[in-house]
């Protein structure tokens, strides 16, 4: 029984670490883009890539390709930038973002099931 309890508590610890404490590495804009454009695939509950980093005051275009037919995936919101877009299915859609100051800007679907962030350094 002790072992089961230890495993259970260990799992709880792992959940806390994996989902909250661990900071995933953001995809560097330099690696991922040509012409300051990055393609984000919207599929299976995740944006790929979900974490993007770029330098301050650089322009960026996000080219979304939505492959998930669920209505939730159809809207992408950038609440801090007051930008939102309806993404068509299986068709690229470009969202041009304004130049951003240093900070972290999240983007997500209407229900916040799809989550992503842009870190401006």
């Amino acid at each position: 029984m002790l072992i089961v309890n230890v495993i259970g508590l260990g799992l709880i610890g792992l959940i806390i670490w994996w989902f909250w404490l661990y900071k995933p590495k953001a995809m560097q804009i330099k690696e991922a883009v040509s012409d300051n454009e990055i393609t984000i695939v919207v599929e299976d509950g995740v944006y790929q890539p979900a974490n993007i980093s770029l330098n301050e005051n650089s322009a960026i275009r996000l080219r979304f390709i939505r492959k998930d037919a669920s209505p939730c995936a159809s809207t992408v919101l950038f609440p801090d930038l007051d930008v939102s877009a309806e993404l068509p299915l299986d068709k690229p859609f470009i969202v041009t973002l304004p130049t951003m100051k240093k900070g972290e800007y999240s983007f997500h679907c209407q229900m916040k099931m799809y989550n992503g962030s842009i870190v401006v350094k």
């Binding site: 959940i15 275009r61 690229p92 209407q110």
Partner: protein, 766 residues
């Protein structure tokens, strides 16, 4: 799949690319042809086609760029069709969206039947008392077969949950898929362990839960399918607005010296094109009437039921309906610049923005799924440590049920669904709400400040009375005064000239004209010396004012009219009253606001007597007169300091600072002018009823959001402890995972359906 033809020139600029969607490219060899024809254009550096997506990305050299029409032409010349990826019309996007949603719905329904096809018979068997246990070799074989069938169901009907859960997991995030995958996975895995190696679990706990796994997958797919249907209805308002756009326009063009009328697609109408609209047709783009007259139904945009008369020089707006006459107009705004396109854009943006009330739900959503996972583990541990036998079976059931019953979607959907319907509903009533914050704040407004001119009144002074004190007739007097004032730009002078024009009076030449600042004008017309102005001017010119004249002037002032004195050759001949008439429904609209407990305050730059007269007429007791435009914001701040949540309504021209400072700025749009940046809410028609409508819609939407949030919170707060088995020690009750699956599937549907109730909201009749 990818192939590129590059001219290998240096790439120095950024963001100078264009994406086209290709139609009719059925083979991979088309790729080369398309890339080639585009690369041959001088301005194009590189053309790269993605055959899988049927798109081609064109990169231009340096700062050069080519109109997408030229690129499309080049592609069409080799036998394919193309369109710009960003240029899909709203209608096309909507059609595509509907087709995609329909397909998705059908897929979900099929997956539901697959899930329920296995789950239902098993559940009925269990409800009829059939043993769901593994105690013999035969039972093991049968359950092994069913377990494998269940795995097939999980694959065919629930694959998306497992893939979604896995991908989220490796991205350090968790969502609804995670909960469903873990819940159904736990139930299935435990059952398989019982089937494959029953001896490792106590005899009492050799229970299988395949029916729960299959039922949950079926029910959740059903819930999602119904949600897709219900969601479609939340965007009805935007569909209606998009439906207002005409598909074609009849353009008049000169071809080989001949005037030809041709029907062209709406996207091809260009600025300054001359367009003919026949009775019953929709106005295709915005423009100015150049020939003909008609009456136009603008109700779809402004909510104003009466048709509006249009003559040469008047503006017409895309989406409105030409009622009787035939007109020709010149296009002044086309494509995405038309008022209708801007309204659609604004409504779409507002529908996607969140009011502050939704922030708490957002914060909770961010932690929700991992917290539920922790609760599920904690619940299992509690059952294992303190529960009755068979502990392990109770632990599995409670953990599965906790994972399945929790519904982050209901929380996530609560706010956006209501905002979507509420903002759309407001747009139908001619009220454009800029964002969610404006929507929320306007539901709390306690004081409404109204600008007088152009807001309560029409903003266009008119001659209301002519009191004659001589033998000259009214028309002769008006003709003389209008001749004198013809060159003046003063609004009162314009009112007089307009009145003369309406009566088709001829104007004569003025000699020795003199404008006397702050008093009036004088001049000679037809050898008569004319003086026209205020009382001060008459006194200066020693013109006798009889008692009768003075009383008449006082009466005019008390009726919110401005009396103007007119003297010919030193003798007063008439009093002309000019007034800015109060809008027909201002009185009832202001009463509606007051009946809702809102303190209504009027601001005006006019003198006290006129201000008081107007305020009295419309039932406003609190007003500030002679307020300079720059002082209007100070008055707003003063009210805010008194603890009021202030709405400010103005025509948006000189009220910008006050509109910006107010908690909610309302701009009165002139007809369909929506480009009023400083306002939070734009009323597309002039009527002040729009204010009460806006507040009523906001209140209804906020109430709806609160119901949704309350429902979603309570559902999760109550559901999760029930699922964990909190009732078991008292009543011996433990929730079945199947019930949890049904509850979860229908909780988000309930939220969407409740938001849909807002569709039936009607602002009070007026």
């Amino acid at each position: 799949m990818k192939k590129s033809l590059s001219k290998k020139k240096s790439l120095t600029t950024k963001l100078n690319t264009l994406e086209l969607i290709i139609e009719g490219a059925g083979c991979a060899s088309c790729v080369g042809k398309i890339e080639m024809v585009l690369s041959e254009l001088n301005e194009v550096q590189n053309a790269e086609m993605n055959f899988a997506l049927r798109t081609v990305t064109v990169t231009f050299i340096d700062n050069k760029s080519v109109d997408s029409a030229l690129l499309i032409q080049a592609i069409e010349s080799i036998g394919y069709n193309a369109k710009s990826a960003q240029d899909s019309s709203d209608e096309e996007l909507l059609d595509e969206k509907e087709i995609a949603e329909r397909k998705y719905y059908q897929k979900l329904m099929l997956q539901m039947w697959v899930g329920l096809g296995l789950g239902m018979p098993l559940m009925i068997y269990s409800l009829l008392g059939g043993p769901m246990t593994v105690n013999s070799a035969l039972e093991r074989s049968v359950w092994l077969f069913i377990g494998l069938m269940c795995a097939a169901v999980m694959y065919f009907a629930g694959k998306h949950f497992y893939i979604g859960a896995y991908k989220s997991f490796i991205n350090h995030s968790a969502n609804m898929d995670t909960l469903i995958a873990l819940g159904t996975g736990t139930a299935w895995l435990y059952s398989m362990v019982v089937v494959i190696n029953p001896t490792i679990v106590p005899e009492m706990a050799r229970h299988v839960y395949f029916e729960a796994t299959a039922m949950i997958i079926g029910l959740i797919n059903l819930g999602l399918a119904l949600e897709v249907k219900a969601r479609g209805r939340t965007s009805e308002a935007i569909k209606r607005l998009i439906g207002l756009q005409a598909k074609t326009a009849r353009v008049i063009r000169d071809s080989q010296g001949k005037r030809q009328e041709i029907d062209i697609a709406i996207e091809k109408v260009q600025l300054n094109d001359v367009v003919r609209v026949r009775p019953g047709e929709r106005i295709p783009v915005d423009g100015v009437v150049v020939e003909g007259s008609t009456s136009i139904d603008e109700s779809m945009l402004t909510g104003e039921p009466m048709p509006v008369q249009k003559i040469k020089g008047d503006e017409v707006v895309a989406g409105t309906i030409n009622k009787i006459g035939s007109i020709i107009f010149k296009a002044t705004r086309v494509g995405k610049d038309t008022a209708l396109a801007q309204i659609i854009n604004m409504v779409k943006r507002a529908q996607n923005s969140k009011p502050p009330i939704g922030r708490l739900a957002d914060v909770i959503s961010a932690y929700f799924v991992p917290v539920i996972m922790i609760i599920a583990i904690a619940s299992a541990l509690i059952w294992l440590n303190f529960g009755p036998d068979p502990r392990i079976a109770f632990a599995v059931v409670s953990a599965t049920t906790v994972l399945i019953i929790a519904c982050p979607c209901a929380l996530g959907l609560a706010t956006p669904m209501s905002v979507m319907v509420g903002v759309g509903k407001a747009a139908e009533a001619g009220v454009l709400i800029r964002n969610g914050e404006a929507l929320q704040t306007s539901s709390k407004i306690t004081a409404m400040v109204l600008d007088k001119t152009g807001t309560i009144t029409l903003g266009a002074p008119k001659v209301t009375d002519i009191h004659v004190f001589s033998e000259l007739d009214e028309n002769r007097i008006l003709s003389l005064v209008a001749s004198l004032e013809a060159g003046s730009e003063h609004p009162l002078a314009q009112a007089i000239v307009e009145s003369a024009n309406e009566k088709k009076l001829s104007l004569n030449k003025v000699e020795v004209f003199k404008a006397l600042a702050g008093r009036g004008v004088e001049g000679i017309v037809d050898n008569n010396k004319l003086v026209f102005g205020n009382k001060k001017l008459m006194v200066e010119q020693n013109i006798t004012l009889t008692k009768e004249i003075i009383i008449s002037a006082q009466t005019m002032a008390s009726e919110a009219k401005t009396p103007m004195y007119f003297a010919v050759n030193g003798e007063l001949v008439a009093l002309i009253a000019v007034a800015d008439p109060i809008k027909g429904d201002s009185i009832s609209a202001i009463k509606r606001l007051q009946d809702n407990g809102i303190r209504v305050v009027m601001l005006t730059g006019d003198n006290k007597a006129t201000a008081k007269a107007v305020a009295d007429k419309v039932g406003i007791t609190e007003f500030f007169a002679e307020v300079l435009p720059e002082d209007k914001s100070a008055k707003i701040a003063q009210l805010q300091a008194q603890g009021e949540i202030v709405g400010m309504t103005g025509d948006g021209i000189n009220d910008a600072p006050a509109l910006a400072l107010a908690n909610v700025g309302f701009a009165i749009g002139t007809g369909t002018d929506v480009a009023i940046e400083s306002a939070d809410i734009t009323l597309m028609r002039g009527s002040l009823h729009g204010l009460a409508d806006a507040i009523a819609v906001s209140k209804a939407t906020l109430a709806n959001i609160k119901q949704n949030l309350f429902g979603a919170f309570i559902y999760n707060l109550a559901g999760v402890p029930f699922a964990a088995g909190i009732l078991y020690p008292f009543f011996g009750l433990l929730l079945s995972p199947v019930i949890a699956g049904a509850a979860m599937a229908f909780s988000s549907l309930t939220v969407v359906s409740n938001a849909n109730r807002l569709r039936f909201f009607k602002p009070q009749d007026h």
